[in-house]
């Protein structure tokens, strides 16, 4: 079981790196398309998806650094939280994207200089996120209106640990909440009682990884459930008896990686499936072969390929969904 023949596939498509780079670069030039405006609520997330993909493709400079930082900081509120675009309310999801982008661009110094709020800098963001923790149950809300979901818990852990501020929240209580979300199949749901879902499994296992509590995962049971997500054709689905989708190349595979079971699925077949979802001409990756591409599936196709050690890609961190080198650089600051 190795991925050694991944780069040696004369019969099959190769990764269309330069088309993907161009596709991502073109995303902010489509202001004459209706969809560009309808997706403004995802602008900051989209920037994170695109930038991460570019870093993994080995083209970190493909988006202008200074302008990117300016845009990110223009989305911040006095509370410390970030909206998806200027004029959009602050939310956990866009705040996490902002932190991840600034971390990738090594721009925390800009944040310290120019960040909004009375505390300013990292501290203000940490304050915003910490206030979204439900101190009774340990989980997190997405914003002041109170929707709770393990996605937000993971997002909080991701951003706070990158900021070196995880001690602002009650980690033990959050860990207990994750344990309460576990099901008999070894998976995790949105909240206690909810069905196991690959996306939520990623958020729960990655949050446990950040908390240093992967020992709480039933790795064998979860590993078998995750490995059973691979369907004939090589793609992965998100739940039993559902269709495959490129994005699960990330949610399922990163979870398998975190519990040391990546070799429980067929790597070459998954590589083949992801590559078949590319638009090799115009760039971008879609959910299934022949469908419309978008930046979200483009990122998760590429992160999947990176975990599968596809040649020429930078290694992705399975917990943070960022280049490993960036995560190591940021986290090493806080190591004593």
């Amino acid at each position: 079981m190795s991925s050694s023949n991944a780069g040696n596939r004369p019969e099959e498509v190769q990764l269309a790196t330069s088309a993907h780079v161009k596709y991502i670069q073109s995303l902010d030039t489509r202001k004459d398309e209706y969809d560009y405006w309808l997706t403004e609520h995802l602008r900051l997330n989209g920037l994170y998806w695109g930038l991460t993909a570019l870093h993994l493709l080995g083209h970190p400079e493909a988006l202008p650094r200074a302008e990117t930082i300016d845009f990110v900081l223009s989305c911040q509120h006095e509370s410390g939280g970030f909206g998806a675009a200027p004029g959009h309310d602050a939310h956990m999801l866009s705040t996490v994207s902002a932190v991840q982008i600034l971390a990738m661009l090594d721009a925390f110094d800009e944040l310290e200089k120019r960040g909004r709020g009375s505390l300013g800098g990292r501290a203000q963001i940490g304050h915003y996120i910490a206030n979204l923790q439900n101190r009774q149950t340990g989980t997190f809300a997405g914003d002041e209106w109170g929707e709770e979901d393990t996605r937000f818990l993971y997002g909080a852990f991701n951003a706070l640990s990158l900021l070196g501020l995880l001690d602002l929240v009650d980690v033990d209580k959050a860990v207990k909440h994750i344990v309460a979300c576990a099901n008999f199949d070894g998976g995790y749901g949105v909240s206690p009682g909810a069905e196991s879902h690959s996306g939520q499994i990623f958020t729960c296992v990655a949050a446990l990884a950040i908390a240093g509590r992967k020992d709480l995962v039933d790795a064998d049971r979860l590993g078998r459930w995750l490995s059973e997500r691979q369907v004939p054709g090589g793609g992965l689905n998100g739940r039993p008896e559902k269709k495959e989708d490129v994005c699960y190349s990330w949610w399922v595979l990163s979870s398998l990686e975190m519990i040391g079971r990546t070799h429980w699925i067929d790597r070459d077949q998954l590589i083949g499936f992801i590559l078949r979802c590319q638009d090799t001409e115009k760039g971008g990756i879609s959910d299934r072969p022949g469908d419309m591409v978008d930046v979200w599936h483009t990122l998760f196709g590429i992160t999947g390929l990176s975990l599968l050690e596809y040649p020429g890609l930078q290694p992705v961190d399975e917990v943070y969904c960022m280049p490993k080198s960036a995560v190591e650089r940021v986290l090493s600051r806080y190591k004593k």
Partner: protein, 432 residues
């Protein structure tokens, strides 16, 4: 980053070259949309919490239900403008009792966090734009008058709540996986609890079960709708709404859903979660519990007999088996079963599954179950597989490896873990 909103799912790739006509239409649509967006932003920045502004947000959300900031603006419009009483109980930080967002959240719900209206006041004195422009403390009238104005306020709020519930239904039907619509609807329902007499609020919540069912008819696996259903049930059962347990009817609901579609794992999952409470509330004795377990085994086996390739069925069967062999640490169906009875039942299941091989000799999941359950049995008896078990395990594993080469790494690990091959280092792909 786990947000799927706005991404393309299942839409066929078409040529990205637009015709001149398409381009012209796009330009027109964009202009209309941006104009509307601008108007909403302007009204809110000038704190015009009026029915007219509210109408504009309706239009905008109908064009784009993913625009979460506008859903938030709508909440603020209701709290500060249209609902009758901008009481302390309606501020965001206390709007959801399940959330204990601390006092600091109140400061984050001030001007700084609201984007569209850069200076939303905490609303001590909002403009009165609701139908009922009166408030209870307005005059020093008689108790009858106070009662009357309270009634008028409730009528106003009830109408608004009903209107909002109606507004979101077509949007949910069109975008059943849009997180923002579901969470807005729950927020409105929470307003019903805070603003209306309990019996009226309860009736509103009861109708939500109908909506959840309707959404689950459209898509049996929609996890938003399943989660919504569990949340609604929890509220209906709560003392806040004068509730009693719904576990029997919810259990029945899973039975009905399974009858329609045996493959619906979401229904099987919910069933597994309801059973411990169901049996507790039935005050089921040990015999009743054992009977219940056997009935569940009978039912799932019948289904497996028809569709042995269906993962959903095997997951539920696995859940029942865990009730036999892993009785500690979590609530189980029949905790008082003796060791001997447990062993008998495990062996019974293994034997039944072996019989399936007569009809289906190339279904991987059958072999997988036989391997799992034989190992369960050995673990439960705290011994290694004996000679004949070992021979069976080897032959089943051979079959699985042939039928399922995709997961060969997993079968190799299993082979080693069962002691069926000589000890070799575990294949780890990473440091975990």
């Amino acid at each position: 980053m786990a947000d799927q909103g706005g991404s393309q799912h299942g839409i066929a790739r078409t040529s990205r070259v637009r015709t001149e006509e398409q381009r012209r239409q796009d330009v027109e649509k964009i202009a209309k949309y941006r104009d509307l967006d601008e108007r909403v932003r302007k009204e809110l920045s000038q704190k015009r919490y009026t029915p007219e502004t509210f109408q504009l947000t309706s239009k905008l959300l109908q064009l784009n239900p993913e625009y979460y900031t506008v859903w938030n603006a709508r909440r603020r419009l209701l709290i500060y403008g249209l609902f009758s009483k901008p009481s302390a109980g309606s501020s965001p930080s206390t709007a959801l009792p399940s959330s204990s967002l601390t006092a600091t959240t109140t400061t984050s719900s001030d001007a700084s966090s609201s984007s569209l209206s850069t200076a939303t006041p905490p609303a001590p004195d909002p403009p009165r734009a609701g139908k009922s422009g009166t408030t209870a403390d307005e005059g020093d009238g008689s108790p009858e008058q106070a009662e009357e104005s309270k009634k008028a306020e409730q009528d106003n709020d009830l109408e608004l709540i009903k209107q909002e519930l109606g507004f979101t239904i077509p949007l949910l039907l069109a975008s059943p996986k849009c997180y923002w619509i579901w969470s807005y609807r729950l927020w409105i329902l929470q307003q019903a609890i805070q603003r209306l007499p309990i019996p009226i609020a309860r009736r509103i919540w009861e109708e939500e079960l109908g909506l959840a069912s309707k959404m689950l008819i459209k898509d049996r696996r929609n996890f938003h709708a399943w989660g919504y259903r569990r949340h609604v049930v929890e509220q209906l059962e709560s003392p806040e709404l004068g509730g009693t347990s719904l576990v029997e009817s919810e259990f029945k609901y899973t039975t009905e859903m399974i009858k329609v579609d045996l493959s619906n794992f979401s229904a099987w999952h919910n069933r597994s979660k309801l059973i411990p409470r169901l049996l507790d509330e039935r005050k089921a004795d040990d015999t009743a519990r054992e009977t219940f377990l056997n009935e569940e085994f009978g039912q799932i086996f019948e289904a497996i007999n028809v569709g042995p390739e269906d993962q959903s069925l095997w997951y539920y069967h696995h859940f029942l088996m865990l009730n036999l062999v892993s009785p500690v640490g979590h609530p189980t169906i029949a905790p008082a079963l003796t060791r001997e009875t447990r062993i008998t039942y495990v062996i019974r299941e293994i034997e039944q599954i072996k019989e399936l091989l007569e009809d289906y000799d190339d279904v991987q999941l059958i072999y997988e179950a036989l391997i799992d359950y034989t190992l369960f049995l050995c673990q439960f008896l705290e011994r290694k597989p004996d000679g004949s078990e070992r021979a069976e395990l080897v032959s089943w594993l051979d079959k699985v490896k042939k039928l399922d080469p995709m997961r060969s790494g997993r079968w190799a690990d299993l082979e080693r873990d069962c002691g069926l091959v000589e000890e070799r280092p575990r294949m780890m792909t990473m440091a975990s």
